[in-house]
């Protein structure tokens, strides 16, 4: 099993926590991680529209946004990024 600690940013902070930890089988795809994140958020924070916000969100590491079809081979820190609006 791999462990992913996922930092929450923007509207995901409405959940009231700064990160969520997930455990997935080795060689999981990014899309699977997003799907499990959605299930966990919906379970733990039923008043938060996790599915709605995840549809427009992406997973990223500290250097780049990850594609949904990428396979992650080791445990790591990630972040879930809703639509951005800097400046």
């Amino acid at each position: 099993m791999l462990t992913f600690q996922i930092a929450l940013y923007g509207v995901f902070r409405n959940c009231g926590v700064s990160s969520v930890t997930l455990h997935l089988p080795a060689a999981s795809r990014v899309a699977q991680i997003k799907s499990q994140l959605g299930e966990q958020l919906a379970h733990d924070y039923p008043n938060f529209d996790a599915a709605g916000w995840l549809a427009a969100a992406v997973l990223a590491n500290e250097t780049r946004v990850l594609r949904d079809d990428e396979v992650l081979a080791e445990s790591m820190h990630l972040a879930i990024l809703p639509p951005v609006c800097g400046g």
Binding site: A7, Y9, G10, V11, R13, N14, A56, A57, V58, A60, N61, E62, T63, R64, V65, A79, L81, P82, P83, V84, C85, G86, G87
Partner: protein, 144 residues
Amino acid sequence: MTHTFEISTMAIDIQAALQAVNANAHGAVDMFIGTVRNHNLGRAVDGIDYDVFDALALNTFADISQQACAQWGALRIFISHFKGYLPIGGISIVIAVSSPHRDEAFQACRFLIEAIKRNAPVWKQEHYVNGEREWVKGHSLNDC
């Protein structure tokens, strides 16, 4: 070429931005300063909380600066984005670009602020005068 990128929780120093892009061979400096306005989409705004994924934001600033230099040549670039709460009039971002001539500085500065709005991992939570708060709808990074 030396560039300066930062995520700041302190007031952004405009004089430091000018100094950072100073170069003897450059005859033009263009600067963009973003500030918090008192209204958005018909609602009266009191202030804004800025949330930033620091590490990825700094990488994004480096990537888009590299793109700007590839397009407009020798530039010196300063980008500072604020993180935390700002009241009306507070400075949220400063971009300074210097180049040998003015046209490149103007174009690169415009390119950089538009790229930051589309790509940088930054979020705004508006505070309204009636006490409510709301995260601003932005651009999905799925589209990049």
